[in-house]
């Protein structure tokens, strides 16, 4: 053909099934490479129409199945001398028409398979490729592998934003597609961007810094081989090349996990001795929690009176000089707060007054009870002392991934982690001091965290807030779930880009999928790994693409190679944690000191303070902290030199 395209069919229109401006039918030869999702072009002298095949029909001139049965004398093996002509008729939805005006029904004309250039035009990618394209996968038709790009202005803002992916567990490629698109964003996005991943189940996101297959000479090559880890195939490598995305694991991944209740062992599956050093504790103190009390306190508890008291504590008590029962206070942590509450209540009881600074005794008692319980309820996440370890607010790095492992946290703790981190992200983005201009928040199991029905929660409200207002700030939500129909409509509705992996037929039967043809639904129900259907503002119709397996170690494979370590005894865990800042720390010295102190709370506090202060001589500082509290300090103990912690030095960095 003159246009260099391969003709595969002809448009047909009948009175019963006419062409419209948005759909048309065409038949093809028996051996044509057309299937559901194939992109085609109708070319006439006046117009070019790009379409995507959404339905297929095959039929003969047989009027009734009975006629075939009678003709074969009921013998299924009978071979009639003539085979009835069989037509393959396809319905296509219009993606684009050139020229766009006047918009008329698709004309009768030859139908061609789309090539690379036609794919780009069909999907209107010519408007943004070279300016803001993000490779998302490859449109495949036979031997043709044409790159498909998303527009970053519609994926990461400001025009539109957010990505939602849905599909059944295990086969839907939800995690891997998000991993790949993050790799792609890192490779192609022209502005700075970082990612916060909430690992909400298992170990999905815990090995992003390891390759899917071990290169030759790799440190863990033998372990990969011993565990029969699947490698990146040459087909995958070809796809990476076509998409111009480096086939590499993420270079800058930072892991965070709260402690277990013992406050020395991290509550994560990434506890293999080779890896635990790269996981930083996520630990918040009173200051961090006071702003989010509504999240962690029962909604019924925080009535107007309780809220007023909490406000009072925030404004007049926390980190301020105050007085209660004649005692001076400067509340800095939960322990101090307990003491303060005790003093207030004692003062009221002594003076026989039912109110203290307009706050009623019962309200004070209730807030005391709820607040001081927090460090017990969220032990491991909320620190009773001043120790805090948090995400690097203000110094997020471009192309950095910050994985927050909350998989082992109870629901309310997860709520707190999500809400606080997202609120802090928003706060910093508003002020422009996060360190990057764009942040992507990755959340799986969205139907659990933002269900379409059920009680209102702060987390759901937070997610709604991101989806509705985040794009203006550069705060983008990449969310995933099994059942899109069970997610809050405004969240999925605000996701400009939606991806669908293999779907459950029950889910496809829900009203949200009514716009899809039966064939498209059937295809969705049988998609294999690495295949997705994508909706994007530039694409008039959903498009099927394939993407390569991300070059990242899958969670289950990571667990095989790096099995989690057993929970360590306190003295061992303390030595291991202190070793982060001093690799030559004597194990026996730490052990002896812990044994000598006989106060686990105190040694943990001392450990955390030591890690936080990062002194030149950690053992000496640690000993001093323990002894100071336990009144074991000798007067002639030499002073400990503290590094300038405000200089932006992260004590966990480089461990």
């Amino acid at each position: 053909m003159e246009n260099g395209l391969q003709q595969i069919g002809r448009v047909v229109a009948t009175e019963a099934k006419p062409s419209t401006a948005y759909s048309f039918s065409f038949w093809t030869a028996d051996d044509s490479k057309v299937g559901i999702g194939t992109l085609v072009v109708v070319v006439t002298e006046k117009v070019e129409v790009f379409g995507v095949v959404v339905e297929g029909f095959g039929f003969t001139d047989l009027g009734s199945p009975l006629h075939d049965y009678i003709g074969a004398e009921g013998d299924p093996q009978a071979e009639p001398p003539t085979i009835r002509p069989e037509i393959k008729l396809y319905s296509a939805a219009v993606l684009r028409v050139e020229p766009e005006e006047p918009l008329q029904p698709v004309p009768i004309g030859p139908v061609f398979l789309a090539d690379d250039a036609a794919v780009a035009r069909a999907l209107r990618m010519d408007a943004y490729v070279g300016r803001s394209e993000i490779p998302v996968g490859l449109y495949q038709n036979g031997d043709l592998l044409a790159p498909v790009y998303l527009d970053s202005e519609f994926l990461l803002g400001p025009e539109a934003a957010h990505l939602n992916i849905t599909g059944v567990s295990g086969l839907a490629t939800k995690t891997s597609s998000i991993e790949f698109i993050l790799q792609s964003i890192f490779a192609s996005f022209r502005e700075d961007v970082a990612v916060v991943c909430f690992n909400v189940k298992g170990c999905d996101m815990l090995f992003l810094d390891f390759p899917a297959s071990a290169p030759e000479g790799y440190k863990y090559e033998k372990k990969y081989l011993d565990n029969n880890i699947q490698t990146i195939t040459p087909e995958d490598a070809e796809k990476y090349e076509k998409l111009q995305v480096p086939c590499e694991p993420f270079a800058n991944v930072n892991y965070y996990a709260p402690y277990k209740p013992d406050r020395v062992n991290l509550n994560t599956l990434r506890t293999h001795p080779d890896l635990i050093g790269s996981v930083k504790p996520l630990s918040w103190g009173l200051k961090d929690i006071l702003e989010y009390t509504e999240v962690v306190l029962n909604r019924d508890d925080v009535d107007a009176k309780a809220d007023a008291l909490i406000q009072f504590i925030r404004q007049r008590v926390f980190e301020q000089k105050s007085e209660a029962n004649g005692q001076p206070f400067e509340v800095k942590n939960f322990q101090h707060l307990n003491q303060w509450f005790d003093a207030v209540l004692r003062e009221m009881e002594t003076s026989n007054r039912s109110e203290w600074k307009t706050h009623h005794y019962a309200t004070i008692r209730k807030v005391y009870n709820r607040l001081t319980n927090l460090s017990g309820r969220y032990r491991g996440l909320i620190s009773p002392d001043e120790f805090t370890s948090d995400l690097p607010w203000g110094s997020f790095e471009d192309r950095g991934i910050y994985v927050v492992d909350v998989a082992k946290q109870e629901a309310q703790a997860q709520d707190l982690v999500f809400t606080r981190i997202v609120s802090k992200l928003r706060e910093h983005l508003e002020k422009g001091n996060l360190g990057v201009k764009h942040i992507i928040v990755v959340v799986d199991e969205l139907n659990k965290y933002a269900p379409s029905d059920g009680q209102e929660s702060y987390l759901r409200q937070t997610l709604l807030d991101i989806s509705e207002r985040g794009r203006y700030l550069g705060l983008v939500l990449f969310s995933a779930q099994q059942f899109r129909s069970q997610v809050h409509k405004r969240i999925v509705g605000n996701s400009a880009t939606c991806m669908y992996g293999r779907m459950d037929m029950d889910e496809l039967a829900t009203p949200g999928y009514q716009v899809l043809t039966p064939a498209t639904k059937e295809k969705l129900a049988t998609l294999s790994k690495g295949q997705l259907m994508i909706r994007h503002p530039h694409f008039n119709q959903p498009i099927f693409v394939k993407f390569p397996r991300p070059n990242v170690l899958r969670g289950p494979d990571g667990i095989k190679i790096f099995p989690p370590a057993d929970e360590l005894p306190i003295e061992e865990a303390i030595w291991q944690n202190l070793s982060r800042i001093d690799r030559n720390l004597s194990r026996s010295a730490v052990k002896d000191l812990v044994a000598e102190t006989q106060d686990d709370e105190e040694v943990v506090r001392a450990m955390n303070i030591t890690i936080q202060k990062n002194p030149d001589d950690p053992m000496a500082y640690f000993r001093r902290q323990v002894r100071k509290k336990a009144n074991l300090l000798d007067d002639d103990e030499p002073p400990v030199i503290i590094k300038d912690v405000d200089a932006g030095v992260d004590p966990f960095e480089g461990v």
Binding site: D61, E73, P81, T82
Partner: protein, 340 residues
Amino acid sequence: MSDLLGNLEAYIRTLPAVDVRVTLSHSPLADETPMRAESEVIPGGRELAEECGIMAIDVGGACKGEFCCFMDGMQRPRGPIYVNSPVPILYGYVAAAIRVRGSDRRMRTLPGFHKVDESLYFSVGMAERYGLTISGVKIVDTSDSDTIEHPIALAQVAYDKISTIRGALESELAAKWVDQNKGPGWLLVDGSLQSDYGEANVVGVTKSHGTQYLTWDEQRVVLSMKVGERSGAFIPLVHGRRRPVYSWYLRMHPSEGKDPYFGLIRVEAPRSARALAMIDDISRWILAERAPLSLPDSRWDKMIYPIRDCELYMKSLAPSHTSLDARLFRLSEISRSREG
């Protein structure tokens, strides 16, 4: 396909005074207007070709045969149109095609074996008497000194002529096929064999039984034949003349409880000793063509599937009933618009 009706319209528009009347079809999907030969029983005769006479003979069941090509013809008459005269003008589209069955058992048109003709059929002499000299379109003159000068009779002559032209197209194709094919494959023709094909591998299958070749008693034998049975062969006589074929009846489908002609066809093969010896084989080959059924065609009991395929092929390329009727309607509007 030519724009014959368009050209006719252009011609009519050149006439200074116009009175155009058109008979639009009442049943727009009907192609075949019943011809006299099909609506009336024509007496014929027969000369027995086998010693057994006209008796029911079991041919021994279906057997995959040597049929590789199939021929059918079609005609799509429209009208009559009257232009400034009571002389009926018929539009006629005729076609004939031979389709070949490949080793994949699929049907394709044999290259060069699809012929079409589109003409106006009327008595030129009579039209000229009314001052009508149509030019710029293909015309078939149906003038016949025996015809009564009556519009209905003239229209019937034109209809008959359309059938004749279709037959001529079929004969032309069949002759060409015979000329080019000397191999083992056979051509099955829908209808009677129009020529003497000598030793050629050609068979005709007739679905209509309007000509009475057999005696009443022989007809009773034929009509009571069971499925898979044939009659004894005979040489058909028309107007006392021996046709150059051997013919026999064959029951394709059981007719018990149905019309006695249900599933009954008449087969013709060239009048050669070779064909006479092959009558049972040819019958078995035809029986094998019963599958697939030609349903939903109403003639499925007598029509083999490849013939239906030929018919569908030709119809798919013929001008549609709707477009023809629309063209004729435009003609009828010419005089009205002039008056306006």
